[in-house]
């Protein structure tokens, strides 16, 4: 089993922002569920968890059955319960929203059932009889884990190639620590690998030493779940000064080790997406007195979730709207960020420059894309560094499938879980095999 993350991590100062439900709370909440027919919450879930059914099972104290319903649809149901943006998915779709009643706390109920299953050490699935086929999975994040687990249920041997020291992907290195910490994500990885027959090769990066062609010769099918690459850079003067970091890289260090924050007085976060909003909340949570977001558009136009930004503001976040950085300045290390106003069309306004004092700048304007690593293989459909697949994850080149951020451009853990599972079933079908009876449809 892969090592647990080190115990001394900056993220340890965070507390859950949605508290786990006590048993009594869970029972009251579960009994409020209407058990809708063709429930909108199910349709809002990329993995199509049968939400009314798992909630009813909580209400009857059939917790094992409740957890089984969740994991049957989504083997990452424990982490998704904590990290899913439920406000815009299942909870946002709850019919109670239409009658001025609080929607069911689906995420917290799912956490109640899945945490209980983990505490009890319950396991639900066994590997299928050996098919004699093997599948290579490139990248060890949620998409590959979901795919590998499903492939094992179907009897195919799996090897995960992970470039980092431990698998888990963004669930370990990127999830906001007030939702889930790295050690819990690592526990989930081990729980999933517990199905057996998944060989995890760590510190193993696709490149000169291990080419896509090598992999193709080793395996009967390949699944690419490599996620996204390094933080994009602004290419501005002073960007290499100490104190300027890519947000994803900085968050990874905060989650898997320590980032120095005790001397930081002012932090600037550049960007308006969810990584930027996370970085703002994390900076504030680590005790940085002032954290300011710089975004080139209006508040309403930012792509970060409104509910997350609202929480950031409650925590004390500031923002400069319609502004872009033009230079990082400082003597030996970052001291200020020079910014410029932009108009509604994002065109710089001459003479509008202003300086923000800062000793930490986190650049959260996107990440590089990794599909080009595979560009040498004919038949793969790649656009702007992203795999173009059909609904089952097929890439266009026989044997090759892809899912998760490297194919969808960067979505949620739950999307990666859904895509990984769907690809596993498509791989199974590509072997000319049919799904065992009772295993449901594509999302069953």
């Amino acid at each position: 089993m892969p090592d647990a993350p080190p115990e001394d991590r900056s993220e340890e100062v965070f507390r859950d922002y949605k508290l786990p439900l006590a048993r009594a709370q869970a029972m009251v909440e579960a009994n409020r569920c209407l058990f809708c027919s063709d429930a909108p919450c199910i349709n809002a879930c990329p993995t199509r968890i049968d939400i009314p059914q798992f909630i009813r099972k909580i209400a009857t104290e059939n917790l094992r059955g409740s957890a089984r319903t969740i994991f049957e649809a989504n083997i990452l149901g424990m982490s998704c319960a904590r990290v899913c943006p439920v406000e815009v998915l299942c909870v946002g779709a709850c019919v109670y929203n239409h009658m001025d009643a609080p929607p069911i706390a689906i995420g917290q109920l799912q956490r109640f059932a899945t945490d209980h299953a983990f505490e009890q050490g319950w396991r639900f699935f066994e590997a299928g009889p050996d098919s004699g086929r093997s599948v290579g999975l490139i990248g060890g994040g949620p998409a590959s884990l979901a795919a590998a687990h499903e492939l094992r249920r179907l009897g195919h041997r799996c090897t995960i190639y992970e470039k980092r020291a431990r698998p888990g992907g963004l669930n370990v290195t990127g999830v906001a620590p007030y939702k889930m910490k790295a050690d819990r994500a690592a526990e989930e990885v081990n729980w999933i690998l517990g199905i057996g027959g998944i060989d995890v090769q760590t510190d193993c990066e696709v490149g000169a030493a291990l080419t896509p062609t090598d992999l193709e010769s080793r395996h009967d099918a390949l699944f690419v779940g490599v996620g996204l690459g390094a933080d994009s850079t602004l290419d501005l003067p002073g960007e290499s000064l100490p104190g300027v970091h890519g947000a994803v890289e900085w968050i990874e260090r905060m989650k898997t080790g320590r980032v120095p924050v005790s001397n930081i007085q002012r932090c600037v976060v550049i960007g308006g997406g969810n990584t930027a909003v996370d970085a703002v909340r994390e900076g504030l949570g680590l005790g940085i007195p002032s954290v300011t977001m710089i975004y080139r558009g209006a508040e309403a136009a930012m792509s970060g979730y409104a509910h997350e930004w609202k929480a950031a503001k409650i925590n004390g976040a500031c923002a400069q709207w319609h502004a872009i950085p033009i230079a990082f300045e400082g003597n030996a290390r970052l001291e200020r960020v020079i910014c410029r106003r932009v108009d509604a069309d994002k065109r710089p306004i001459p003479g509008s420059d202003f300086a923000l004092d800062a000793d930490l700048a986190l650049v959260a304007i996107g990440q590089s894309r990794l599909a080009s690593l595979f560009a040498a293989l004919p038949g793969l459909r790649i656009e702007k560094g992203r795999f173009i697949t059909d609904a089952s994850g097929f890439t266009g080149r026989p044997k090759w499938f892809a899912g998760g951020d490297c194919a969808n451009g960067g979505k949620e853990v739950v999307n990666a879980a859904a895509e990984g599972k769907a690809a596993a079933r498509a791989i199974h079908a590509s072997f000319g095999l049919t799904l065992p009876s009772g295993s449901g449809g594509l999302h069953g």
Binding site: N31, L34, S37, A39, P40, A59, H98, M99
Partner: protein, 423 residues
């Protein structure tokens, strides 16, 4: 202003809310606190030769998280010395002269009845209630429901009590009979001034599925008990109404069974009760629930133009009929208010799985279901399961058929509308 005072079988009380004979009326201090809280009367926990009780004594029925939706007990009559009870009755009457104190009694022989009635009246009882209802423990000893199930014995003991009593006598009836009428009539023939019903229903409240013993558990065994609480209200309403609409009966009724609030009380009164008795809800929530009961009843009476409770008694009895007199040509169909509908489609599942498959999900992206009125039989199931008040209504259909009952169809050949949903 509405006058809440009532007289039931000659027993007067400042409001119709009485505590039923049960643990909440076990002692003088309890009843005095209850009167302080606003209860109009109390039926003292049944007196008789003090007995020994078991532990545990109660069982609860939890439905979808609601504890005590049903309740049962394997309690018996008082376990306190009779002298103590009589001393406390006197004390209570001295402190609360305007509240009704009715003493519930259960003994065996004529002499015992004479003695205990005399002592109750000497203590100050405003009325007596003969416990012919207890369905466990006492009936095995020839008392309680063993009496209530035998009209002949019921009549005889009632006549003794009436002979010995100078205050009104109510007979408390057991629901553990197939037809309540002969039992009410027996009490009437015995000379009772009124009846109270229902007592508890013979029951097993549940089973401990780990120990394989029913509940409530007494060591390694359990026994049947008396079922009560909110869940028994429909059974009680039916029995009360059955007596109230019987022309030959005509005695005042003190209604009991699953009354938890003023609305329940109004229903019992409209079906013929001139007072109501409450036990379980007080056991679950305490005496102070009566504040809302008084206010709610008063407000209901004011909004409906009732000056006295008496004007309400039996007001819904003319509406309680036989099946054969219902208009078979009266037709309703479900209407769904699209503005109120939240799209849960609970009605779809209910109609498809539990009714006539006539409410269908829409396929155009809107989740407001569609009622196929040509198939809807007007059964009400959708309205019952709908979580949104007022969203589903049952609308009468002008089908062109004159009213016709089953009796009229059979006897006079009146035409009936074509059946729906019977293919």
């Amino acid at each position: 202003m509405a006058d809440l005072s009532v007289t039931c079988g000659g027993i007067r009380s400042p409001n119709p809310f009485w505590l039923a004979s049960a643990p909440p009326t076990n002692s003088g201090l309890q009843i005095q606190r209850a009167f302080e809280a606003g209860w109009g009367g109390a039926v003292w926990k049944t007196l008789g030769p003090p007995i020994q009780k078991v532990s545990s004594r109660f069982g609860g029925h939890t439905i979808r998280g609601v504890q005590g939706a049903g309740f049962n007990n394997i309690e018996l009559i008082t376990d306190r010395p009779l002298e103590t009870n009589f001393r406390e009755i006197a004390e209570t009457k001295r402190l609360f002269p305007h509240n009704a104190v009715i003493v519930s009694l259960m003994v065996e022989s004529r002499d015992e009845w004479r003695d205990i009635i005399r002592r109750s009246i000497d203590a100050g009882a405003d009325g007596l209630e003969l416990n012919f209802g207890c369905p466990h423990g006492m009936c095995e000893r020839g008392m309680g429901s063993a009496v209530g199930q035998e009209p002949r014995i019921n009549e005889q003991i009632t006549s003794w009590a009436v002979e010995f009593s100078t205050v009104p006598v109510l007979v408390k009836l057991t629901p553990n009979v197939s037809n309540i009428l002969p039992h009410g009539m027996a009490a009437k023939r015995g000379g009772a001034h009124g009846v109270s019903l229902i007592n508890t229903i013979k029951s097993i409240i549940g089973v401990d599925i780990d120990r394989f013993v029913p509940e409530p558990r007494v060591g390694s065994l359990s026994t049947n008990g008396g079922y009560c609480g909110a869940a028994v209200k429909p059974i009680a309403l039916h029995m009360v109404a059955s007596l109230a609409r019987e022309q030959a009966f005509g005695l005042p009724i003190s209604g009991i069974g699953g009354i938890t609030n003023w609305r329940d009380a109004v229903e019992f009164i409209l079906l013929g009760s001139s007072s109501v008795q409450v036990c379980t809800e007080v056991m679950l929530r305490g005496y102070r629930i009566v504040e809302d009961m008084i206010e709610g009843l008063e407000s209901y009476m004011n909004s409906h133009g009732f000056n006295t409770v008496g004007e309400m008694v039996g007001k819904a009895i003319p509406g309680f009929s036989e099946w054969g007199d219902l208009d078979l040509n009266y037709e309703t169909v479900a209407k769904i208010d699209a503005d109120k509908c939240i799209g849960c489609q609970v009605c779809v599942a209910a109609c498809h799985d539990g009714a006539h498959q006539c409410i269908h999900p829409t396929t155009n992206g809107v989740r407001v279901p569609v009622v196929d009125e040509s198939e809807c039989v007007g059964c009400n199931l959708c309205q019952i399961v709908c979580p949104v008040p007022g969203c589903i209504t049952m609308e009468p259909v002008a089908n062109g058929f004159a009213p016709a009952t089953w009796n009229q169809a059979v006897e006079e050949g009146k035409p009936l509308r074509p059946k729906k949903g019977s293919h």
